[in-house]
């Protein structure tokens, strides 16, 4: 297929347009969707193309998320726009106690095919309530699938798969990546949920990462190459279900791993990866599992403070050197 270059924002739009065309039960609900095509312009053109199927709701996240859930339980396939990932707290009962559990609690009587689309991440001086990476809360809640793409092709392909999936999918997308462009195959493009991608082949070190940090890892890997460290980069893409086979395959080659995520260190997804690698791949390891993550404070506003808290390329380089020290 001929490839083209599109942005992550356009990838969202293409995925939704194609899926709404394909399936009349798909609709979008959230705040400020019609006047601006979503606050990041991520739904531009869709309100006009699918009148009545892009629903502007009041600032009422509990009922936006719970409403999406009720619609999913009664035959629809909603895509819920969370506005900012940070606002999940205002609908946490609907996500953690209802959405994640209703199928299980009812003995599998009902399916819950919905996507909760949540723009996350820092680096924009948006301060502590608009900058978080909250994926580990949801990974820790059985009943939810968690997806964190980094490239436009994955945004499109995973969003289409998430919409078609019969289970609830929490779809995190980093705000700094909206304008990021990349190649995308023409025509129908689906990326399966639960499959990691190797972004860079390497012999010496496996970087396990996802979301925006995959890009920072690429930069760090170039610097490390000059020092003679050949890093492999595994972009997990889906955190739950986790593609542990891919991790295991890479570690069997490199025997060293550096975990990199933007969420804060303590109790982050890296802790789960480190524990599982320790339990299942201990014999492969030639060095301790090492983590690079945000410092354990809320994300501060002032740019200098924020970049001190969030992992930078230099932090990843230092982390990699530590693995070899």
């Amino acid at each position: 297929m001929v490839e083209k270059e599109i942005s992550c924002t356009s990838a969202i739009c293409e995925a939704l347009s194609e899926e709404m065309q394909r399936d009349a039960s798909v609709f979008i609900i959230g705040e400020d969707l019609i006047a601006h095509g979503g606050i990041f312009g991520q739904f531009s053109g869709l309100p006009e193309k699918f009148p009545g199927r892009v629903i502007d709701a009041p600032i009422s996240e509990t009922c936006i998320v719970g409403g999406g859930l009720g619609a999913a339980m009664t035959g629809m396939r909603p895509v819920i726009d969370m506005h900012f990932a940070d606002f999940v707290t205002t609908a946490m009962d609907e996500i953690a106690n209802q959405m994640a559990k209703i199928r299980y609690m009812s003995g599998g009587q009902v399916k819950v095919p919905l996507v909760l689309w949540a723009p996350d991440g820092g680096g924009l001086s948006a301060a502590a309530q608009h900058s978080q990476s909250l994926e580990s809360w949801f990974v820790h809640t059985p009943g939810l699938k968690v997806v964190v793409p980094s490239e436009p092709a994955d945004v499109k392909g995973l969003l289409k798969s998430a919409i078609r999936d019969d289970d609830p999918v929490i779809f995190f997308q980093h705000k700094q990546l909206f304008a990021h462009t990349g190649p995308i195959p023409a025509g129908e493009h689906l990326v399966p949920i639960g499959k990691a991608a190797v972004r860079r082949d390497g012999r010496d070190l496996t970087m396990l990462t996802y979301g925006r940090m995959a890009h920072l890892c690429m930069e760090a890997a170039e610097q490390l190459a000059a020092e003679g460290i050949d890093a492999e980069i595994v972009d997990l893409r889906t955190l739950k279900p986790l593609d542990f086979a891919c991790i295991s395959h890479s570690l069997a080659k490199t025997h060293r791993t550096l975990i990199v995520h933007e969420a804060c260190l303590t109790g982050g997804f890296g802790a789960e990866l480190a524990a599982r690698i320790g339990e299942e791949l201990f014999d492969e390891l030639d060095a301790p599992v090492t983590r690079v993550a945000a410092r354990d404070v809320p994300i501060p506003f002032s740019p200098g403070l924020e970049s001190y808290v969030l992992p930078q390329v230099e932090d990843i380089v230092l982390g990699a050197r530590k693995v070899f020290s």
Partner: protein, 322 residues
């Protein structure tokens, strides 16, 4: 709303069934045959039966932790309900939900809920779904006076009103949110009065009068079905048992409960009415009560004879496609 003699007898039978189910559940709980804890609705049967009597089987209903009566009234099978209370494989949720999470999607029962006020947002979604699919279904969310103080109630009323959703909010004001009296906790003193803030109709009804409930909820449901939007109906009632079985009930006197049973029992009131208008004879009543008792015995027997789930079944039913 016209109610034929046959329909009235059917309402009476449903109320007797719920009372018998709940009294049996209390007895079995006392014998440690039901794990966990249960919340009974004895004394509130008119609200459940009157409300569900105006619903179609494809209408949606969401209920609460005190939901056995609503489910039976909406058409759930008492045998599968008891099996769920016992945690057996034949239960509605295969033993994964228990009393607080029974659901029967085939009967439009979107589930009881362990979170007070948890049903409102879900029913807003069901209402949206009805509108998007263009059917003439209606959704009813049942809740207590305690849930009316949660944000979910206010958000749901607002959203249902602005989207003109085909929903009816049916409050069962049984005077207590767990141990907290509505007289203390409910600003303004009325749930139905809050409807004015959302520009929708609000009605307060004698919730122990099954025909009154049927009439008012019936009007609200008809209105919703015609696309005229949501309403709030507040059924004034009273619960006889504690918040949960075993509740020491320090927040009210025994005399208060006895007085309500003596003077305002929904089943006794309807029985007297039916006898007075000669819809019911003593002979017919006896036959009905025997029939209900036999059905409940059979349901309990089904539940108790059903197998316990295999422990590893705990890992099933989480995802459609893991």
């Amino acid at each position: 709303m016209r109610t034929t003699k046959t329909e009235k007898l059917r309402l009476f039978e449903k109320m007797l069934t719920i009372r018998a189910f709940e009294e049996k559940a209390a007895e079995l709980f006392g014998q440690n045959l039901i794990p966990g804890f249960i919340h009974l609705s004895i004394g509130e049967e008119a609200s459940a039966v009157g409300t569900c009597s105006v619903l179609r089987s494809d209408d949606y209903m969401a209920t609460t932790h005190r939901g056995h009566g609503h489910m039976l009234a909406k058409g759930a099978d008492p045998g599968r309900m008891f099996a769920e209370l016992f945690g057996r494989t034949t239960g509605y949720c295969k033993g994964k939900g228990g009393s607080m999470h029974i659901a029967d999607f085939s009967a439009g029962i979107l589930g009881a809920n362990g979170v007070v006020g948890g049903g409102f947002p879900i029913m807003v979604g069901a209402g949206l779904s009805i509108k998007l699919r263009g059917t003439d279904q209606v959704g009813v969310v049942l809740f207590g006076d305690g849930a009316a103080n949660r944000g979910t109630f206010h958000e749901a009323c607002n959203m249902a009103a602005i989207f003109n959703l085909p929903l009816v909010f049916v409050c069962e004001n049984n005077r207590f949110a767990s141990t907290t009296p509505a007289d203390f906790a409910l600003a303004g003193g009325s749930v139905s009065g809050r409807a004015a803030a959302y520009g929708i109709p609000g009605h307060s009804v004698d919730g122990n009068d099954v025909l009154a409930v049927r009439k008012v909820v019936g009007q609200a449901v008809a209105r919703a079905r015609k696309g005229q939007g949501p309403s709030i109906v507040e059924n004034q009632t009273y619960r006889y048992r504690g918040h949960f079985e075993g509740d020491p009930q320090k927040y009210r006197s025994e005399e208060e409960v006895k007085a309500s049973r003596r003077e305002n029992d929904p089943i006794e009131r309807f029985r007297e009415y039916l006898l007075r208008e000669k819809t019911l004879s003593a002979k017919r009543e006896k036959a009905l009560r025997e029939q209900v008792a036999a059905a409940i015995e059979k349901a309990v027997d089904f539940g108790l004879k059903s197998p316990e789930p295999h422990p590893a079944a705990a890992l099933e039913d989480l995802f459609v496609a893991p």
